[in-house]
Symmetry: C2
Subunit: 322 residues, 2 copies
């Protein structure tokens, strides 16, 4: 049996626990598992237990990780450094540590710096989420068919890769290997920039003196474009702090487009406005037409043998604690 420790029982940590625990151990690539959960907020651990996301709530970080084969860090990004430092002397030799944070380069640096030899780190980032935080919004199907980025260091062992990949596929997600720096640049554009634009929309409109009169006219368009602004401020603060260079670049790109639009609007340039809007519509429709969650190079046809893998880990266990 594989023991998995989940540190941080918010939306993702709790959803992950639920997904792991509802997988059929006979067919799941990771086999039989036990899930231990820990959160600095004891109430969060209680909520996760209530939602059957964990078998057991640990009373301390040490209790959570000391028998773990896999440790999943599901705290906000900035907290990961402290947690890595705290668990470094506690994690059993041979265990694998992974995380689910939205930025990967900084986390990889911290892990390389803090974890002892014999404890491998494989960064991870499921491309799934919700704007509501906390265990109450957790969903065991959150990761189904989602792309799950894995950003292993070059020297990662096959065993560690296999184990994390089994964890990912057992919750119905699709592992996608990518360099951590590349990952951060890309998600800055398709995930963090949308959040910032959602935030900018809400800030610009709600601080207006006319907001009270405007608000009733806000309909489904406003609701959807403002959705991400309801996300967790701490999680997004940490994203801003750990992915600043890429984000700054995307903010500049967006301002450039807005200035171009403003210029065309001021000039009343019907032709250029329509050309830009038509081009953007084509691009967005083309993206939407691709099958969601298709990894680069992946075709629409996925054979059975590619989905089902025998459990590699029925007999897997970590080395005894040294």
């Amino acid at each position: 049996m594989i023991t998995i420790a989940i540190i941080g029982l918010g939306l993702i940590g709790t959803s992950l626990g639920m997904a792991l625990r509802t997988a059929d151990e006979k067919t799941s690539p990771i086999g039989a598992i036990g899930v231990v959960g820990y959160d600095v907020d004891r109430r969060a651990a209680g909520d996760a237990r209530g939602r059957l996301a964990i078998d057991r709530a640990a009373g301390s970080l040490e209790e959570a990780v000391r028998e773990a084969h896999v440790v999943v860090l599901a705290t906000p990004v900035q907290a990961i450094r402290d947690v890595l430092q705290a668990i470094a002397p506690l994690v059993p030799q041979g265990a694998v540590v992974t995380d689910v944070a939205s930025t990967k380069a900084m986390v990889a640096t911290w892990a390389a710096e803090l974890l002892p030899a014999g404890v491998e780190f494989i960064g991870g980032h499921p491309m799934a989420g919700k704007e509501q935080a906390g265990a109450a919004s957790a969903d065991p199907n959150l990761f189904k068919e989602a792309i799950y980025c894995l950003t292993p260091p070059v020297h990662a062992s096959q065993n560690a890769l296999d184990l994390v990949e089994a964890l990912v596929t057992s919750i119905g997600a699709k592992p996608y290997y990518i360099d951590p720096v590349e990952h951060d640049a890309y998600v800055a554009g398709v995930s963090h920039l949308p959040f910032l634009l959602s935030t900018a929309l809400v800030e610009a409109t709600t601080r207006s003196r006319s907001w009270k009169e405007m608000a009733p006219l806000a309909a489904s368009g406003y609701r959807d474009i403002s959705r991400l602004a309801s996300g967790d401020p701490v999680m997004h603060r940490d994203i801003c702090l750990t992915n600043g260079v890429a984000l700054t670049r995307w903010i500049n790109e967006t301002i450039e487009v807005l200035l171009r639009l403003r210029e065309q609007i001021e000039a009343g340039d019907a032709k250029r406005i329509e050309a830009l809007l038509a081009e953007v519509k084509r691009s967005r429709d083309a993206w939407l037409d691709t099958r969601p969650n298709l990894r680069p190079g992946e075709t629409d046809f996925v054979g059975e043998q590619e989905i089902r893998r025998p459990s590699l880990f029925g007999r897997w266990g970590p080395n005894k604690k040294g």
Copy 2:
């Protein structure tokens, strides 16, 4: 029986026809109706007929409006001027002309300038829509519970107001009287600005050389924030052209917020970033907590007598054509 002519059979025109024709004439405030439809594109008229949005497709503008009690203009904004000019000599005396365009001040000016005495114009704008254009996406429930802005001129007659209000309530929408210039400033913030931000996101990301690698990582956040960018380019071009001043102001406000965010990100100012994101989350959550489509001053409790009104128009008919 009231004859309603719908000019322009895209998403809104067709949805409106479907909504009007599915209302129960015994309880509907507008009573028994007949709907005539016209579109410059004959295929669009055929599609609308196929979806039972109209009783009859007219072969010309003249045929569409010559017996109409109400004429609804559902073309893109810029086309409204030409249509008003064309129908001015054709509309029966006593008929009421309305529209469903997203901007109201310019349309009101055109109507005052072009329509003859004895034909009243009451501008309208249902706060409902979809990014997919055309009859195929039409939905008779599109207007249910939606706020429907009405921007009558000060000299509008009670008869004309009653008639348009009956049309609005018969499709399940909620009439909301507002000054056309105020309307344009407000919807620029809550409707047109979200569209432009959605467009800016798609333009900035899809033109990137890394788009092919980024696209698979785009998940539900990107999908939702980019949704409006799939809207009709011609409709939005016309919105940009007829609501430029307000839009320019909102673009400037948004750029100001983005620059502030960029500065905080570059400074790694965790405190100020978190404060801004938390404030924005509060504002957005507060907006979401209000009942959708509640007009200013409207309470959550709406008594039966406020919803159901006797039909004022069972015996209503326009003056004979002069």
